[in-house]
Amino acid sequence: MIRLVTLAGYAVIVAAAIGLEIAARRRGGASFGDALAVVLRPWPARLVVVAAWLWLGWHLFVRVDSG
């Protein structure tokens, strides 16, 4: 039951993101790409995001046993 609640929380967040994106495209608001562009504008922020992304790759593909 607790697991379902946790998974439902993730699902709600994903659904909200999809809803926001659709609303942004229909009404001309800020899409995810627009928000990302703002975040990535200063080069130190871009550096942090890219470093975090590389860490994520390590986390997903190196750290975990594929066996």
Binding site: G9, S31, D34, A37, L54, G57
Partner: protein, 139 residues
């Protein structure tokens, strides 16, 4: 890749090459130096390649297509929902992370691990990760 004018066939060939490399790389021993170099090295190579391509692109075109136009559309008020959503996701993930057992409180990592159990799924995810790396740098 986004914003590139190369023929699709060349991109398909490049993706296929990356997939073959990924198939090998994601199968290496976890935590080994070989795996770290193969994965992170590929990521760094993608970053370097994207920076090189970005520098070659016409600055004016890149500004209009990628940053100036995008940020102009992204008014501050429009960004608030995305910030709130990111905060909600971070809080939910953190709440799951600090609670146990993991089966009852799955984190995004544990869900990803389950989803990427098969070698094929891990290879596909590696390709997506590498393509996204290039897109992040070139954006």
């Amino acid at each position: 890749m986004p914003g590139d004018d190369r023929p699709p066939a060349r991109w398909l060939a490049a993706i296929a090459l990356v997939a073959v490399y990924g198939w090998w790389a994601v199968g290496l021993t976890p935590f080994s130096w070989e795996a770290t170099v193969a994965i992170v090295g590929a990521g760094l190579a993608a970053v370097g390649w994207a920076v090189w391509r970005r520098d070659r692109a016409d600055t004016r075109t890149r500004s209009v297509a990628g940053v100036t136009l995008g940020s102009a559309r992204a008014r501050r008020s429009g960004l608030v929902p995305w910030v709130l959503l990111a905060a909600a996701a971070a809080v939910w993930q953190l709440a799951a992370y600090v609670q146990h057992p993991r089966d009852d409180h799955p984190t995004l990592s544990s869900l990803a691990n389950a989803a990427l159990e098969s070698h094929a799924a891990r290879t596909a995810a590696f390709v997506v990760w590498l393509v996204t790396t290039v897109a992040l740098v070139r954006r």
